[in-house]
């Protein structure tokens, strides 16, 4: 296939001047790591869908309890166990409280526990993992052994002990989740830091006189953020799930607050008669967790440099 022959005449053969030469600037948009990550995430169908679902849940959880005519904890012994109806979209529970309001009020607590339950362990894990990985030697061995010991304590025993100590307010639940969650991310971060710490860019900044702290927090940890962020999106569902399991064991959120776990626990008790009391919160919880999990997967794909084609 012969390209169209461009006619050249003698004048074309005169020397170019410098400024005419560099007319070509780089065309591809230079994007920072995060903008590139964000664009790749948002071009992915599944990621967008799950993000919108999460956004909807958050908005509903915040707005509905404010706007709804019913108080989330107002009993109405006259209208107990009514199925979904015009006045009560999600029906009422055993004490006649409006489930529509309670589901979204519960959403607030569950989502808050989910978010903070994901951020705290990651933060603690990153710091301790970074220190252990960076310093190595005795410190690393010590921290790793402490992690081994903490890992050996059966989760449920540890959780209940913490709940007994801190009570079961939302803050207490998040702290107890953080206390059993950080070990995992600490190990991951340590592994990564161990790999990275003798790479050139770290040596380079060390030679330039960077302090230990600067090295850890300015150079090493930002590079582990990819993995840590993936870990976080994965641990949001497990934090929400964790609170639900606690409620089943009767250690759930302090009254009069409620959460999806609480609603499920009450719903299961008589799901044969009032199936809606179990299935509506269960469906909403599942959809939210589904969205988080898929989001987690897509974030992992978007972050993976090798999949950047």
């Amino acid at each position: 296939m012969q390209k169209k022959q461009v006619e050249l005449d003698l004048s074309d053969f005169t020397r170019l001047l410098d400024e005419e030469k560099n007319g070509e600037e780089i065309v591809r948009p230079s994007t920072s790591f995060w903008r590139d990550f964000a664009r790749r995430l948002f071009t992915n169908k599944a990621a967008v869908v799950s993000l919108t679902v999460v956004a909807i849940m958050v908005v509903l959880s915040i707005v509905i309890p404010l706007v709804s005519p019913y108080q989330y904890d107002a009993n109405n012994l006259m209208s107990i166990n009514q199925g979904p109806s015009a006045s009560h979209w999600f029906g009422t529970d055993t004490l006649g409280r409006d489930l529509w309001t309670r589901v979204w009020y519960g959403g607030r607590i569950s989502l808050a526990i989910g978010f903070f339950g994901a951020i705290f362990p990651a933060l603690i894990g990153v710091v301790i993992g970074g220190i252990a990985g960076y310093f190595g030697g005795v410190i690393d061995m010590l921290i790793m052994r402490v992690i081994d010991v903490l890992m050996c304590v059966p989760q449920m025993v540890f959780v209940i002990l913490l709940m007994l100590k801190f009570g079961n307010g939302p803050v207490a639940i998040v702290t107890s989740f953080a206390l059993i969650g950080w070990m995992g991310s600490a190990r991951n971060v340590r592994g990564l830091v161990l790999q990275m710490k003798n790479q050139d860019f770290v040596n380079a900044s060390r030679i330039l006189g960077a302090s230990h702290l600067r090295l850890i927090f300015k150079h090493l940890i930002p590079n582990t953020l990819g993995i840590v962020v993936v870990g976080m999106t994965m641990s949001v569902p497990s934090a929400i799930f964790y609170e639900a399991t606690l409620s089943i064991l009767g250690l759930g959120i302090k009254s009069p607050l409620t959460s999806w776990g609480q609603l499920l626990q009450l719903g299961v008790q008589n799901f044969k008669l009032y199936a809606y009391q179990l299935f509506i919160p269960a469906v909403i919880l599942s959809i939210t967790l589904l969205a988080f999990n898929i989001l987690g997967d897509r974030v992992r794909d978007a972050l993976d440099p090798k999949l950047r084609n």
């Binding site: 890992m151 025993v157 209940i160 639900a244 599942s286 999990n293």
Partner: protein, 306 residues
């Protein structure tokens, strides 16, 4: 190799000792005592019981006696199940939970790995979304909801399978499925990530350059290398699964060890809690040790050679 094993043993013993000490004192900081049940014991009787079991002595003294007994292999007696030794209770209930756990792993692991492999090989296509969806659904729906549904559909409505109890193979089907769903879910995701990771390695290109077919490449090169991260997670996963799940065991009324982990703490049954914690600790340390050896078999770079 022997030197390595010796070192690992010493570390594990120290870990278990630290675990026992940490749990012992953490437990003692809690208000209340194991004799208070709903039947509400009179305080003066409670004092007598405390002295009978030596719980009125200073914590450190109790700790020394407990550790002394522990060295002789005596984990003491449960307060809730009067006069029954903790070790008997564990030996009676653990095999059942282990049996159920093994079955759920026997189904969970192959299916999980299969779904993960398919999701990775068919990345971006319909099969990938389908496998990931199935696995993620498994994690998103709480297991007691799944369990209740299975029980309702197969047990009550159609009477195909027994609703509860643990009397034979047909009794174990529903609880096994409920338990294995969680394993399948997490494994699919890990396997998919690890398969994708391996796919971009240089030796995969070398294999292709040798003219090997896709099947041979996946089987001989990709799967084995992708298994490495799976094996590292095997230790804790197997340990926690074999320790039973309180919710599933209660739903299908299986006399496993799962419920003891929760009830013993709620009833402040000190010896039982410590016994279970140490049992779980030893089990986890052993599982991790076996996994490290397995790890060496799969990844020669890690193999411990003297």
């Amino acid at each position: 190799m022997k030197r390595y094993i010796a070192k690992r043993l010493v570390i594990s013993v120290i870990t278990i000792w630290a675990l026992a000490t940490f749990s012992f004192f953490l437990l003692k900081t809690l208000p209340g005592n194991p004799f208070q049940t709903e039947q509400l014991l009179k305080p003066e009787i409670q004092e007598k019981m405390m002295s009978y079991y030596g719980l009125d002595k200073p914590y450190f003294e109790q700790y020394l006696t407990y550790m002394g007994n522990l060295l002789h292999g005596d984990m003491g007696y449960s307060f809730k199940y009067t006069n029954r030794s903790v070790w008997d209770i564990i030996m009676q209930t653990f095999p059942i939970s282990a049996d159920l756990g093994l079955r759920s792993l026997a189904i969970g692991y192959p299916v999980g790995l299969l779904l993960g492999t398919i999701a990775a090989r068919r990345r971006g296509k319909k099969a990938d979304y389908l496998c990931v969806l199935i696995s993620v659904l498994g994690v998103s729906v709480p297991n007691f909801v799944i369990g209740s549904l299975l029980q309702w559909v197969f047990g009550v409505k159609t009477g195909l399978l027994p609703i509860a109890q643990w009397k034979g193979f047909s009794y174990s089907i529903l609880p096994t499925i409920t338990l294995s769903i969680a394993t399948i879910a997490s494994l699919t995701r890990t396997m998919r990530a690890s398969m994708l990771e391996v796919e971009n390695q240089d030796y995969m290109k070398t294999a292709k350059a040798k003219g090997l077919g896709e099947k041979e490449i996946v089987w001989r090169h990709q799967l084995r290398n992708a298994m490495i991260p799976i094996v590292t997670g095997l230790g804790p996963a197997v340990a926690t699964t074999l320790m039973g799940s309180f919710i599933v065991e209660q739903l299908f009324s299986i006399p496993g060890i799962g419920k003891h982990f929760t009830e013993s703490v709620q009833a402040l049954d000190y010896t039982m809690v410590l016994g279970l914690t140490i049992f779980f600790g030893v089990f986890l340390v052993a599982a991790n040790f076996i996994v490290d050896i397995l790890y060496g078999i799969i990844d020669p770079r890690i193999r411990i050679t003297d």
